[in-house]
């Protein structure tokens, strides 16, 4: 199946209407002057095997990558990948080198703080595998997870709303007068492999960058459509109270939810994810509860496909 062969649910907030289309028809819902903003972060193989002192193998899932310290989930390498407790001070053999466990994160105790791996990105690229959840039963090559515009590496999981966009579609939109800009936000983990913890909508910092060119394009565009919630997070972090985006880079801890003001983003192209995911919280910044509820009921009734290889939803 082509990347852009997925379905598209179109939610018009003004008309309170829901329509069903194909992603290839995206252009018919956009106008000349609209600006699509994508996340150019490249997915890395962020799951890596680690050998404990007694010889047991665990899987580390990289979530946050600070210069000196990584925050990782430690799970059983076999499905259903239950969390495994480490010991403070324990040494782990990972990708041909050693690291030490510093302790748990105080705010998210399922995440372990470990010494950053020396040449860490290179080691992950040599030894890691893409993070895969139970709804993807067989290993999938990393290239299937990447967006067609993936650039700098750093995302633990694919900024998946853009995964279905093809250059054929993007260049068609360009010819139609729809602008294209990009930000960078390196994603962390979407699940801590613990239902109770996931239900709390864990929030951790993510590295982002909005360039001067992107800020200018956003401020000039009459309508800004974010491709994915990561783009909303980056742009709204860079947005001032005056409704203008500024060039900015750093760690974002912005939490968006019901009632959050959207200062620069006007629309959203996104996938379908479980209602308990934090993704759903962010949708509530765009949609009131009745319309969100209606959209998800229709998605289920119309058998839309969920998760990162699934169908998409355009909120205007």
């Amino acid at each position: 199946m082509r990347r852009d062969g997925v379905r598209l649910m179109v939610i018009d907030r003004t008309a309170q209407s829901i329509r069903h289309a194909r992603l290839a028809e995206l252009g018919s819902f956009l106008c000349p002057g609209d600006l699509l903003v994508v996340n150019r972060s490249r997915t890395i193989p962020a799951a890596v095997a680690a050998r404990r002192g007694e010889g047991d193998i665990v899987q580390l899932r990289l979530c946050v990558r600070h210069a000196e310290e990584w925050h990782v989930l430690c799970v059983n390498p076999d499905p259903p990948h239950a969390n495994v407790a480490l010991h403070v001070g324990e040494r782990l053999r990972v990708a041909g080198t050693e690291t030490a466990v510093r302790g748990r994160r105080a705010d998210l105790p399922l995440l372990w703080r470990i010494d950053a791996l020396r040449d860490g990105i290179e080691r992950m690229l040599r030894s890691g595998e893409p993070i895969r959840y139970s709804y993807v039963p067989e290993p999938v090559p990393l290239s299937h997870y990447e967006t067609v515009y993936a650039n700098e590496p750093g995302s633990a999981e694919t900024p998946s709303a853009g995964r279905s966009l093809s250059w054929e579609l993007l260049l068609d939109l360009h010819r139609q007068g729809v602008g294209l800009s990009d930000i960078l936000l390196h994603t962390g983990l979407s699940s801590l492999q613990d239902d109770a913890a996931d239900a709390e909508h864990p929030l951790f910092e993510e590295w982002f960058a909005v360039s001067p060119n992107a800020a200018e394009a956003v401020n000039r565009a009459p309508r800004v459509i974010a491709v994915g919630t990561t783009v909303v997070r980056a742009l709204e972090t860079a947005a001032g109270h005056d409704g203008q985006a500024s060039a900015m880079e750093g760690w974002t801890r912005l939490r968006l939810g019901p009632g959050s003001p959207l200062r620069v983003v006007d629309g959203l192209l996104t996938g379908f994810h479980e209602p308990q995911a934090s993704h759903f919280d962010l949708l509530r910044a765009f949609l009131d509860e009745p319309l969100l509820d209606r959209a998800y009921r229709e998605a289920i009734a119309e058998r839309y496909l969920w998760h990162e290889f699934g169908d998409l939803c355009l909120i205007l």
Partner: protein
């Protein structure tokens, strides 16, 4: 440095495959002299490291990645490390080539596995590498891709079987991709460097007279000309280096 004493590729990032010897090595040095930051790739680490050291001695910035690009993991590692270090690729030179078995066998005698391997190195890898970096180029609406070809692509020389086929297909890839890039700020070219005094040429034609062959350093100059002009009229075309350097 450039002709006017200014680095014409200052601030640009070039990714060059097959950079440890021959034309790739010459291109690395020429691009470095013009101020480009370099990501260099070759299978063998020691020869590549020597080239990287020479680039550093020139004052250049370089990332050397030893990788076998037939492996998708190695290819992704090269691209990701390059983008992690430099954040972008402005110029991609798909230079790495495999000649195939020597002495050059007739197609009727060609080992099928060797045929497939040559196509993988000379055609499939440039396709995959270009696909892996072109997204960033399209976001910036700027970039140059050069696929190194050969006159064997257009002339039937006995014995040059898989190599010739791979280069003919590489030129087809260049034409089609270029048509798809029409209207963007990207340019793709197939450049034929001509007969050069290189290890590959010696392996193919051991009795060739070196004095009649071009030096890779001289040919590299033509590549600089093309990259700095990014001549739209030539996009998608097969370009002979000798014609560019006049």
């Amino acid at each position: 440095m450039g002709e006017l004493g200014t680095a014409r590729l200052g601030g640009k990032v070039a990714l060059i495959t097959g950079a440890s010897r021959g034309l790739g090595q010459a291109l690395a040095m020429a691009f470095a002299r013009e101020g480009a930051a370099l990501a260099l790739c070759a299978r063998g680490a020691s020869a590549l490291d020597e080239v990287a050291r020479a680039v550093v001695e020139l004052g250049g910035e370089v990332l050397a990645v030893s990788a076998d690009l037939r492996s998708s993991r190695d290819l992704e590692r090269l691209v990701a490390l390059t983008l992690d270090r430099f954040h972008r690729v402005d110029i991609l030179v798909n230079n790495a080539s495999e000649l195939g078995p020597t002495p050059l066998p007739y197609l009727a005698d060609y080992p099928p596995a060797a045929f497939e391997d040559v196509l993988k190195v000379n055609l499939v890898t440039p396709f995959r590498l270009t696909q892996a970096v072109i997204g960033g180029m399209l976001l910036r609406n700027h970039g140059v891709v050069i696929n190194v070809t050969s006159d064997a692509a257009v002339t039937g020389y006995p014995g040059w079987g898989a190599y010739a086929v791979s280069k003919a297909a590489l030129e087809g890839l260049t034409r089609t991709w270029s048509a798809e890039l029409a209207g963007t700020g990207l340019r793709m070219y197939a450049v034929d460097p001509g007969d050069m005094d290189t290890d590959m040429h010696r392996a193919a034609i051991p009795d060739a007279d070196p004095s009649e062959l071009a030096r890779p350093d001289d040919v590299a100059h033509a590549f600089i000309q093309l990259v700095t002009s990014a001549e739209p009229a030539l996009a998608g075309q097969r370009v002979e280096a000798a014609a560019l350097d006049r």
